[in-house]
Symmetry: C2
Subunit: 325 residues, 2 copies
């Protein structure tokens, strides 16, 4: 069985701050090839005003774009390498699903307060689930990597994960060649890093705009400051957009500084209203994190625009409430 | 401007009962070519059990498959021919939208008790809306055809409309070559006529199964009887699946008898539960008519199955209620 060293050797050499190697368009094109058998080629859905299209990544098998980065990272491991991830959200599902497709074992470390529904969903893909107190997630995952001779697949802080998410940018440019603006939700920054790299490499004139909840607006503040500004996890946890509570890493922030034009923020009220609007106008279920792009659209509209709806995993009761208000 | 005679000349010659010309695979292949610039090439969404995929026609611009047949019929008219339709539902939107794309005028005759929301939606595509008492819809539409020198685009009872809907069958066979069973909602029968023609022509061994609400099960009864059995409009109006309240015509029933393997029925409770299941598992918004295919799936499962989710135009309040129950 392959050792995780194979996986991290390259990153350890290149991820030195200041001389960090950024993901390239060739990495993303290679990722597109690697993931094409398992990832849905999502269409662009017209919003109906002739100016906005949604890229519905909620339609992916696990309900979020995360399958792209997870499968790409896994596909670059020596054949048969088992994998470990720590996450209670869409990334956990993505790694479990990707491992099942690749015929390897996934072990997912989740906080012991994770809802049973999410644990069951992860197990349904054949993954082992290890419950730990929330503060021990990362340490336990690293132990498991050693114990199992497995490789860790991080949720965003890795070039192969970023390259996988970047395939969305290739598809946008292919499907709407005269796109002017692309709006992308920002959490850890892996999604926007990949998409911005792809879009700016192919079409330097296209604007790439990030969107964050006001209540977790650390990346927007960092963008203005020109350096990473840290918010407490408690502050970032206030927003309804539960997929946008992480913070950028040095690697993703380097991509953002190089390629992203602006990061705007939207209120939780605007996000909730956008979930309902999206259900009515494009007949898809967006989670609050994915709906941020529609909330941001009136603030950044300028020519033909694509908003990346990052996922659709929302509690039915919350969706029902947002539809009724 | 072209006269409606051009449009109906062929139908008038061939739609004689007993010698009726059925739609062929060549008609459907020509339709695929004609509609490709304006219709979304919908992907297949995995249900997650490895056996069922949904064909999400709710993602079409007007939220339903109807755009396929409407645009195909319109594209076969002499250039510049204006169009008339009578419908208060998805077909009205489809004709209005198709006419806007083709740069011709659409006049839509709707009952005077149609909700303002639907009237506004039809007008938003630039169509003229004519309100009449419900019993006068068809007569007024025929008057308008004469007055305006326009062509009538019927919701299902026309070969060009059936051929347009049949393009869904081509896409299913292309995307899932080893499909065993295709499940299709039945109302007027245009959708299943087209799909069954395409699927059986290309893959005679694939089963094509229709699904109807129990409360509007006239086509299922007709199928068993081997001849059209009529239910009253009042009876057919009882089901929650408001898109499945029409009845087959001689033309569509001829296709059904030739190509369809069975028509099953589902209860309104099963349909409502399926709407909620679809939102959770595939993150799309299905209207009750479209959700019938998931309600029918356990009754007809046999090998790899595709269910055609015909549309997604559901009142947000009804969706909220179904998600909460």
């Amino acid at each position: 069985m392959g050792r995780p060293d194979h996986f991290f050797g390259w990153a350890a050499v290149t991820c030195i701050i200041g001389t960090m190697r950024l993901v390239t368009i060739s990495d993303i094109e290679a990722a597109a090839e690697a993931i094409s058998p398992v990832v849905l080629r999502t269409p662009l859905l017209p919003w109906g005003d002739g100016q906005l299209w949604l890229k519905p990544e909620n339609l992916q098998p696990i309900g979020a774009f995360k399958i792209r980065g997870a499968f790409n990272a896994l596909s670059r491991l020596p054949e048969g390498t088992n994998v470990v991830a720590y996450s209670s959200g869409n990334h956990a599902q993505a790694v479990a699903y990707a491992a099942k497709l690749a015929g390897v074992k996934a072990t997912i470390v989740v906080p012991d307060n994770t809802p049973q529904l999410k644990i069951d969903a992860t197990r349904s893909h054949g993954a082992d689930v290890v419950l730990v107190p929330i503060g021990q997630r990362e340490a336990r995952a690293e132990e498991l990597v050693e114990e199992l001779g497995a490789a860790l697949i991080p949720p965003f802080d890795h070039p192969d994960v970023i390259a996988g998410q970047g395939t969305i940018g290739l598809e946008i440019v292919a499907d709407l060649p005269d796109v002017s603006t692309v709006i992308v939700p920002v959490s850890g920054g892996g999604l926007i890093s990949g998409i911005a790299t792809a879009v700016k490499s192919l079409r330097p004139g296209v604007r790439v705009i990030g969107v964050e909840p006001e209540l977790a607006g650390d990346a927007a503040e960092s963008f203005r400051a020109g350096e990473l500004v840290r918010w407490s996890p408690q502050d970032r946890a206030r927003t309804i957009a539960d997929g946008l509570r992480a913070e950028p890493s040095e690697l993703t922030f380097a991509h953002i500084r190089k390629y992203v034009d602006d990061i705007v923020t939207v209120s939780d009220e605007e996000i909730g209203a956008a979930v309902a609007q999206i259900a009515r106008r494009t007949r898809i279920v967006a989670e609050p994190s994915g709906a941020t792009v529609v909330a941001a659209y009136p603030k950044v509209a300028n020519g033909k625009t694509v908003g990346v709806v990052s996922g659709g995993n929302i509690e039915p009761a919350l969706l029902a409430r947002l539809l009724s208000s």
